[in-house]
Symmetry: C2
Subunit: 275 residues, 2 copies
């Protein structure tokens, strides 16, 4: 999917919500465990219930890998379902990959070609030749970890280099990579006060913002400091939506949570005169 | 596997060679493509042929993920074969994972429990709470990217923080993590001149050293500056061994390459009075 199509979807739906599909067999409603593929059954119900209110879905790959072959099958079915039934949805493989050149190419093929995701999250530590292979695919996007929403972010990301903090160096350097226009960046919502600085370095890039909801970030703050003329934001919520309830009406409960966030987003989009 | 068992294997075999199973259907001998599972058929032959000369195997997970379900099945069979037939081999999932706490726990379970690898490579960018979940498993090890062997390593890893280069900060900080004694570190062989500095920070940790052979690193230099009283080194070679030939005698050719490296290692171990 190209950026223009994503922006069009955001404006049409008045939402820049991404629903994280961190599907955990210990947390999904018990009655689904009787299904042949409980992970996919849960995802399908959540997707059908929430798709009207969001523009992106983000399975965190760890949750699927943890179940081995069965998990991988469920992931294939989930992305297949999204691609077939809701091709307008932007899909993000939250995989946090990154390796030397030829190996990154393998990961890129796995997620962009075999699974046909629109984008993948990437760790920057190994630098340019670990990121650029992901940028060689037209209409596909690499979402680089910049400033993450966890406590450990302070271990290195906010450490000051001679002149700058590391995450700023990551942002500035990444903008020099080949096909850098296909890059997006992960910026933790819980660090909205950093957004002003970040927008100085990447004024137009899309930011994938986790951490609203369960992790305590403020949507309003994110919008105030991070929104661009083309919105430039995808805000993710995983647990807050998909585990809103765990009885028979889990999907409707997920829809209600998604709708509530979308309503807040609509207000922010109006406040910024973007819809 | 605990470190003592690994060290005992190294001394017994007079080798600290790790064979990288970066199995690529475009590169394996053509006659294997007729097998039901060509990836596993290739790995099995390579393992049988090289196991006498090495102490570890390292499948790079990207190569398996690139083939989707079939690749994942081949990976399961490969680790199963190693665990059953050669339980004395140290197994490394070269996955370069890392995510926030509960998600890292998922990856840890995927690789340590579902697949039963002894260790996994981890990216440090997200800090403490992304690494510690991997250190909660007894006799399992996390191998942290410190100074990698690719050109992109100079993008960030060697950038100087106020006082130190980033990779040194990664090393020093990681030693403060809970269960840090289960950590190992990735250090690119092509940067053997950095080894003296690294050993000042982590004098005893095992280092996983890629980049000998195809990437141009020198085994002698690595040993001179990186070896400890307990060896403290696992040196990996992937393409240089597994793709030594691609005809019918590919496995014997791989064995010959592995044996040649083992012979060099034996000499280094003797030079250091460790065997």
């Amino acid at each position: 999917m190209n950026i223009a199509a994503l922006i069009a979807q955001i404006k049409k739906k008045q939402s820049f919500l991404c629903v994280g599909l961190d599907t955990d067999l210990d947390k999904i409603p018990k009655h689904l465990l009787r299904e042949e593929d409980p992970i996919f059954a849960f995802n399908k119900a959540i997707i059908d219930a929430t798709q009207a209110y969001c523009v992106a879905y983000k399975p965190n790959i760890a949750f699927y890998e943890a179940y081995g072959l069965e998990g991988w099958k469920a992931l294939e079915k989930t992305i297949g379902y999204l691609n077939t039934k809701y091709p307008e949805q932007f899909t993000i493989a939250d995989a946090k990959r990154g390796d030397i050149g030829n190996t990154s190419t393998r990961y890129a093929k796995a997620f962009f070609e075999t699974l046909n995701f629109d984008s993948i999250t990437i760790a920057p530590y190994m630098g340019k030749d670990s990121v650029e292979p992901f940028l060689e695919f037209e209409d596909k996007h690499a979402i680089l970890l910049a400033l993450t929403s966890n406590k450990g972010a302070f271990d290195f990301q906010t450490k000051r280099l001679k002149n700058e903090e590391l995450y700023k160096e990551v942002l500035a350097t990444a903008t020099t990579y080949k096909n850098a226009e296909r890059l997006m960046f992960v910026v933790g919502a819980t660090k909205a006060n950093y957004l002003t600085d970040i927008r100085k370095i990447v004024p137009n890039s899309f930011l994938l913002v986790p951490g609203v909801g369960a992790q305590g970030g403020s949507l309003k703050e994110v919008c105030t400091y991070g929104m661009t003329d083309n919105v430039g934001l995808l805000v993710n919520s995983s647990r807050g939506i998909i585990y809103a309830e765990n009885g028979n009406d889990f999907a409707q409960a997920a829809a209600a949570k998604a709708k509530a966030l979308q309503t807040e987003m609509k207000a922010e989009l109006k406040r910024a005169n973007l819809v």
